[in-house]
Structures are given as structure tokens and as C-alpha cells.
């Protein structure tokens, strides 16, 4: 893998870990860090981006990377699941 590809893979895995740690992923993925579908991941990233006031791209871009490095409280983001529900409902 090229350096860029390796960097992107690491960013993806760091993102999944971050999402699980702060409550943006529910179900077994919270523990396994595997996602049931790509849709779940996109939804969770969008929810994080919305909370961080970033454009909701659904991909771990450089702004999302910077957000994940910002100092923060270690408690879960209680609104994360609510956010995902709103998103699903709106979509339907």
C-alpha cells in the first residue's frame, strides 16, 4: 500500500474507534469496532460532523481528523444516538 493509502486506512480505523468511544455507534460495533454496513458508518460520521459544526460529508476528511484531535470530555456524546434517529426518520 502507498503511504497515502496507509494514512487513509489509519484515519478510517481511528475514526471508527473514536465513533465507538464517544457513542456514535450502537450495537456490537461499539465493542468490536466492526460496522454492520457502510451506511452506519456514514451516518455516524455525519452525526459527529454535525455535532462538531462541520460540513456533513460522511467521510473522515481533514476537518473531521482535526475535530477528533481537539481536547474534549471523555464522557459519551449523549445526543449522538438521538441524532442518528433524527437522521433516519428524516430520510424515511
Amino acid at each position: 500500500a502507498s503511504r497515502t493509502e496507509r494514512k487513509y486506512r489509519k484515519l478510517q480505523s481511528d475514526t471508527v474507534k473514536y465513533l465507538a468511544q464517544f457513542g456514535y455507534l450502537s450495537g456490537p460495533s461499539q465493542e468490536t469496532q466492526n460496522l454492520r454496513s457502510k451506511e452506519d458508518l456514514v451516518r455516524a460520521i455525519k452525526s459527529l460532523q454535525r455535532a462538531g459544526g462541520l460540513p456533513e460529508t460522511g467521510v473522515p476528511d481533514s476537518r473531521t481528523e482535526a475535530l477528533m484531535k481537539k481536547p474534549r470530555c471523555g464522557n459519551m456524546d449523549d445526543f449522538a444516538q438521538t441524532g442518528i434517529d433524527h437522521f433516519s426518520r428524516k430520510k424515511r
Binding site: K17, F22, S26, G27, P28, Q30, E31, T32, N34, R50, A51, G52, G53, L67, K69, K70, P71, R72, C73, G74, N75, M76, D77, D78, F79, T82, G83
Partner: protein, 400 residues
């Protein structure tokens, strides 16, 4: 604002400093913490009193990395602090990462007043807010000037405690919900002693005893209580008990109980008792394995963990988990070391009571947790216990 999972039943709360940060004089830390608490008393009925010789509702701790809860800190940056929602035991406690550079203002490091005020919001029952202007916004924003509680947070706190609310009492915790553990004066939790029989006792009634450990070994369930164990086939029929040391050759004869056990994919069986473990090949201790066992710290379990409550393989990912109190660890694929970002909090396993007595994956691949005379079946896909649980252990075995 988002309310958390619990509130305090009264408005006169206590706090206590467990220790102080070396980043500033103690008097400075005390002032900032008191000011952070005061933030929540404006136009609310809340009052805070410092105690020095008893347990307090809010215990304030500065710590680095692993600090005996399921939420180790991560060094400088990223996670700054965390706090627990109201409740007995560690409920209400606020922990600050002492790898941060704590300061008295936002320009010279991390502003302790701001972070402490945020954490006390959790300690009072508020969750994170999505509003960047709110104190309860999860990311550290810094602040200049004189701090006042933002409107969103004021709405949150008055929604929880009003402006002249009468004292309420905690409702009885429903069975099956997470039970909080009591604290002891040094701030570390204690757990009730298991009620297993002691030396000289005959075999207990497996239908009405606390289970110490159990696992499936080559299709049979092995159930351990005190100095005895039972073998159960797929029909869950209970056979005659056998004394542990008369079958598992190599375990110390004076071993009072097995705390946890699991079978590795290579068919080796790992036993835990206290802070030691033993590895067996069939029913013989591995050759050259010390009879007194090896310390569980060899798995990278912290030295202050004195007992593994349960060990089980999770059917969802086939990985082995170790549980102690309200913390758990996932083992690596070789079952030789715990993964690097553990322990985590047992709250991830929603509805599982802590401390568990035992846990295992049964022959059908279902994860079962045991505590006292009850058991809980776990719903992997939803990461919570199944509805309708707990049930009595006696319903689990065919002969009870």
C-alpha cells in the same frame, strides 16, 4: 440540553478532594473547584458542602492513564476529564487527567475552572449538549473574561432540580439494572464476599448457590462452586459433584474457589483464582507451569486488580473477555495479552449487573451472565440483556 440517566434525590450535595494536581498550588485548585461548583448554584436550589473524613457525593480525583475505573486517560490532549452521572458509589465522581497542563485561564493551558464546571454538569445529571455555546458541549472551547452559566445549561439544570424542589428519594433499583457498588474510605470499591462454601463443607446445592465460574469444555458445561464442580451435558442435567483438586491435577489443594475459567481454541483450559492463573492440558497442569500459578499481570491486567470475576468467549467475535468489577478487557487473538485500549466500562454491556459472579457462552452460542441466584441472557445484536431477565438460576438447569 440533554438529561443524563439519573439525578440526585436531594439538592444538598457533598464533595471531597481525593488529591490535587501538582500543576498549581492546592489553594488555587480548591478555589477553582469551588468556583466551578458555584457555577451550578446560581438560581438553583443546589448547595455543595466539602467533607474531609467521609465519602462524598462528588469525589474529585486527579489521575493519569489507568486509574481503577473502566475509563483510562490517554496522556496529554484529547480526553481531559470525565465524570459519572449521579448515583451511589462512583456515581457523581469527577476525574481529571493529570497529564494535562491545568491552569487558571484558557491561554496558559487547560482552564481547570471550565473543565471542572463541565464535569460537575455530568455529576449533577446533565449529558452533552450539541450547542457550541453551552458549557456541556463536549469539546473544550476555552473562555475569556468572567464565566457565567450559559442559558442552555441553566435550562438543563433547572429542568432537573427546579428552583425550590423538595427532596426526593431514589426509586428502588429494578432487578436486572446495573447495581452500584459501595465505596470504601480510600476511594476504591469493595465487593461482597462470595457466599461459596468453605473448607470442610459438603457440596452445596447447585440450584441455590452463587456460581463462581463456568464454561463449556468440549460440549460439556463445567460448573464451579467453592471447592466443587459439576459436569453437565447438553441436556443440562446435573451430575454428582467432584472436588476440584481431585480432578484438576496440579491446582493447589487449599484453593478455596475458582473465580473464572475458559477454554482456549487450542483446547487448553485457563483457570483464575485471586490474582493468579493456571493453564491446563485436559485435566493436567501444563508441564513446568508453577503450582502456585502465574500472576494475572502477565496478561497486562493492572496490579491493583485482585480478582477476575468472569471469563467468557463472546460468540459475536469469538474473542475472550475478562471481567473484574465494573471493568472488562478483550484479549488478543492468541489469548495471551489484553488489547491495548482496555479496560473499558461494563456499562457497554447494557443491563448486565456488576460485579458479575460468572459468565459463559453456552452450547448454543448465547452469552449468559450470572449474579447471585439470577442469570441474564445477552442480546448480542442490540448489545443489551434480553427482555424478561433476570431469571432464577434454578430455571436454567434441567433438574432444579
Amino acid at each position: 440540553f440533554i438529561p443524563g440517566t439519573s439525578t440526585w434525590p436531594r439538592t444538598n450535595l457533598t464533595f471531597r478532594f481525593v488529591n490535587y494536581t501538582p500543576d498549581m498550588p492546592q489553594a488555587q485548585t480548591r478555589k477553582l473547584i469551588v468556583d466551578a461548583l458555584k457555577v451550578w448554584t446560581v438560581s438553583t436550589p443546589l448547595t455543595f458542602t466539602e467533607v474531609t473524613d467521609t465519602m462524598a457525593d462528588i469525589m474529585i480525583l486527579f489521575a493519569k492513564k489507568y486509574h481503577s475505573d473502566g475509563h483510562p486517560f490517554d496522556g496529554t490532549g484529547s480526553v481531559l476529564a470525565h465524570a459519572f452521572f449521579p448515583g451511589p458509589g462512583k456515581g457523581g465522581d469527577a476525574h481529571f487527567d493529570d497529564d494535562e497542563n491545568w491552569s487558571t485561564n484558557s491561554s496558559g493551558g487547560i482552564d481547570l475552572l471550565l473543565v471542572a464546571a463541565h464535569e460537575f454538569g455530568h455529576a449533577l445529571g446533565l449529558g452533552h449538549s450539541e450547542k457550541p455555546s453551552a458549557l456541556m458541549y463536549p469539546w473544550y472551547m476555552g473562555f475569556e473574561g468572567e464565566f457565567e452559566l450559559p442559558h442552555d445549561d441553566w435550562q438543563g439544570i433547572t429542568n432537573l432540580y427546579g428552583t425550590g424542589i423538595k427532596d426526593r428519594t431514589f426509586p428502588e433499583r429494578e432487578k436486572g439494572k446495573v447495581k452500584y457498588k459501595p465505596n470504601v474510605p480510600d476511594g476504591k470499591p469493595v465487593y461482597p464476599e462470595p457466599t461459596s462454601p468453605t473448607a470442610g463443607d459438603g457440596p452445596p446445592d447447585p440450584c441455590n448457590s452463587h456460581i463462581d465460574a463456568l464454561t463449556v469444555i468440549r460440549t460439556e458445561i463445567f460448573l464451579f462452586i467453592g471447592k466443587w464442580f459439576w459436569r453437565l451435558g447438553p441436556q443440562k442435567l446435573i451430575n454428582k459433584p467432584v472436588e476440584i483438586h481431585k480432578f484438576w491435577y496440579g491446582l493447589p489443594k487449599d484453593l478455596e474457589r475458582i473465580d473464572a475459567v475458559f477454554e482456549r481454541p487450542d483446547n487448553k483450559i485457563v483457570f483464575f483464582s485471586g490474582d493468579r492463573f493456571w493453564v491446563f492440558n485436559a485435566n493436567h497442569l501444563l508441564s513446568r507451569f508453577p503450582v502456585e500459578g502465574r500472576p494475572i499481570t502477565e496478561f497486562n491486567i493492572p496490579a491493583d486488580v485482585k480478582k477476575i470475576d468472569a471469563a467468557f468467549q463472546w460468540s459475536y467475535n469469538k474473542r475472550t473477555y475478562l471481567v473484574s468489577g465494573d471493568m472488562y478487557w478483550k484479549m488478543d487473538e492468541n489469548n495471551s495479552f489484553v488489547e491495548y485500549d482496555y479496560p473499558r466500562d461494563m456499562g457497554t454491556w447494557k443491563g448486565v449487573p456488576v460485579p458479575v459472579d460468572a459468565a459463559f457462552m453456552d452450547q448454543s452460542g448465547t452469552t449468559i451472565f450470572f449474579q447471585g441466584l439470577d442469570y441474564w441472557q445477552f442480546y448480542d445484536m442490540k448489545m443489551r440483556v434480553q427482555r424478561g431477565y433476570p431469571r432464577r438460576i434454578s430455571h436454567y438447569w434441567s433438574q432444579c
